[in-house]
Amino acid sequence: MKTNLIKNLRRISQGIFLLLFLFLFIRTESQGADELGYPVKIFLDFDPLILISTLLSSHVIVGGFLFSLVLIAVTMILGRVFCGWICPLGTIHNMAGSLKKKRTRAIHPHWYRFKYYILLFVVVSSIFTVQLAGILDPIAFLIRSLSLSIYPLFTSTIRAFFDTVYALHIPIITDISEFIYDILKQSILSFQQPFFFQAIFIGFIFLTVLGLNLYEKRFWCKYLCPLGALLGILSRYALLKRSVSEGCTSCGVCETMCSGGAVTDRNGASRKTECLYCLDCDDMCPHNAVSFGFGSTEKAAPINLERRHIFTSVIAGITVVPLLRITPVSRKGFFDTPLIRPPGALNEREFLKRCVRCGECMKVCITNGLQPTLVEAGLEGVWTPRLVPAIGYCEFRCTLCGQVCPTGAIRKLTIKDKEEVKIGMAVIDTGRCLPHAYGMSCIVCEEVCPTPEKAIWLEERSVINRSGERTVVKQPQIDLERCIGCGTCETNCPVKGRPAIYVINTNESRSDDNRLLLSL
């Protein structure tokens, strides 16, 4: 008898984990309190790929990652159940794949190896201190894509709709739509519309990856995912095993519908490392010949990587390191001054070794000031966070980016430390500043300067205007010992475009070489 019991159970499990993921994702947002209050990065904490790559690249074990030992243990017992039952990106792939009606057997049965080569490449490059795991790690990939592109797109669409109805002012209908809008604002919408550089680019990559499901279902999971590869290796000796009994008539149903591309022939033979443990074949087999159990003594087939490709991956993993670092950005003593890192960021080299580009810091940044880099930090630093004060400043008493960072690339600061950490310093462009250049009063930068003893102070200067009258204006000056480089002045400067006061990363606390002052 065919039943869909297990399939339904799996779907419920996938749904629950996806909803949990999305719930935590949406809650990665300030509610005004100092602490976020939700373990929003927990999916990344369970990710053994991030554990291994961080361990190799920076030789630290970040506390939260001990959770990933659980996933390692589970995989060694039950196989890649994470891929089939839990992974939120896998679930989204399932959903995207359901748009493709026809099930076919794996189109490229040999490509499964490709993800192992990617894994090898990533691991080898981490040994040589380049952290690339986050680029393709499914959890980091998903959080980054949602944070920087899909979620802003979603909220923008919803807002545009309700704003239109609001502007129309239709009695009753507008009231109802505002009521619904309020509920959405308190539940799934962000507090303010986020804007990110590269939103289109990052979204394009994400949608392309989803689109691959139309070519072949779970293309990503079968051929690209490095976490899937890692779990595949761990599952090779898993205790839960698939077996095919003698009742098999070689009908080929399991081969056609296998979502991991694990079943390799009509007789039901399979590669254990590729099995997503969705258990569909157990459900679907018309003769009940397929079963999963702990008793089987069947030996698993080896992954069968090709030696020359292993060699290529290792070489690539090694050579990528100097390739990424022959830019002047990597040269000691060179500082690209607009590259302002979040408060609590480790020094640049260590920061790059740890940052997995999940984008949580950018998602949680309450002013939207944290933006993804493209090449500003070298190609090695692609999609790492930098503060763009012209968009949003670093809120004085906010420590959220450090709270959500899964690898400690941004340290979790206490509020007291946060108030003292310098991320740069402000510079006045006296040729554009109203009191300096035009003798007009302004002082906005001084007003908003958040340090308890203001880093911006006002010097009273007597100036002569065009009519020959003498007036006193207050000209802003910067106290470098007090200035922390938060950029509140730059964000609020009335001179827009190229503000008359702006922040550079000079004097940042995290760098010994970029310090300006003799004593701090």
Binding site: Q31, S441, C442, E446, E447, V448, C449, K474, N492
Partner: protein, 300 residues
């Protein structure tokens, strides 16, 4: 009041600040009448002095009628805690909200256009929680709700102002007394910046005239200046507890200029030291001549 008397008042005010006995000087007001223009209440409980000040003015029913939609406008501009004295004392705010409901107000709304992140300002200032507990509708500023208003003032021709305050039946301004780099002090009139839309930074070019222009449009039913704590340096944002002074005082009244004049005296200044007070007096927004007013002081 003659010039000499005025100087005496000022000197006494300065003295009283240093001794901590604020506004004793007003107890000898020679023009006393039955009608109290300004009430100054001092005492350990913010709620107690707020109640006492309103009572001295004739009770809340003098200002709020049954069914009114009231906007209580505190200063929530900064991400600071109450003890840092950059935002209005939450207890003063919640007491006023309670009084409005006692008088039968239909709705009491609380909002401010903040300078720092609104979520942090509302939460950290303690105002959102206190106001919500007192039954007010606490809302964040909605950018769609600004309406460009014709002002034709001294410098502002028009400016986007917040619709909810324009549409309110009654407005209670609840500022906190602080220093400010340009206007010297931020008191009642400057608190209207929190209902202004657009690029507010620009008004600093002519701040005094701009503040008077907006104050001519937004006429409060009542002003309650919170001086439970005042910020004496590094304002308006503060952050240093050394700059905070406990005065345990609120000053309530209806004349925006007079209230700010009183506020100036908390800092050892006179009304005429503040550009917007001087201009406000000149254009008839209110008076900075305290001798014309009946000022009542209450100590709890």
């Amino acid at each position: 009041m003659k010039r000499r008397d005025f100087l005496k008042v000022t000197a006494l005010a300065g003295l009283s600040i240093s001794t901590g006995n604020l506004f004793d000087c007003f107890t000898y007001n020679v023009f006393a009448s039955d009608f109290v223009d300004i009430a100054v209440a001092e005492g350990p409980s913010p709620s107690g002095i707020t109640n006492a000040a309103i009572n001295a003015l004739g009770g809340i029913t003098r200002f709020i009628s049954r069914g009114d939609t009231v906007v209580v406008k505190p200063n929530i501009a900064w991400d600071r805690r109450p003890e840092q004295a950059a935002t209005t004392n939450p207890e003063v705010v919640s007491t006023l909200i309670g009084l409005c409901y006692e008088a039968g107000a239909g709705r009491v709304k609380v909002f401010d256009r903040t300078c720092n992140d609104a979520r942090r300002c509302y939460k950290q200032s303690g105002i959102a929680d206190a106001a919500a507990a007192a039954g007010a509708d606490v809302s964040y500023i909605d950018d769609r709700k600004f309406k460009t208003v014709k002002i034709d003032g001294l410098v502002l021709k028009e400016w986007p102002l917040y619709r909810e305050i324009l549409e309110a039946d009654k407005i209670i301004n609840v500022p906190i007394a602080k220093t400010h780099g340009l206007s010297k002090l931020t008191l009642g009139m400057k608190n209207w910046m929190g209902i202004m839309g657009g690029w507010r930074g620009r008004i600093h070019q002519k701040i005094d005239e701009s503040l008077v222009d907006v104050s001519m449009i937004i006429k409060p039913t009542l002003v309650v200046l919170d001086a439970v704590r005042i910020l004496t340096a590094n304002g308006p944002q503060g952050g240093r507890l050394e700059d905070v002074r406990m005065l345990n005082t609120v000053i309530a009244g209806t004349d925006q200029v007079a209230i700010d004049t009183m506020g100036a005296m908390l800092f050892g200044m006179e009304g005429r030291d503040l550009g917007y007070v001087k201009i406000g007096d000149r254009v008839g927004l209110g008076t900075m001549d305290l001798s014309r007013l009946n000022i009542k002081k209450i100590t709890l």
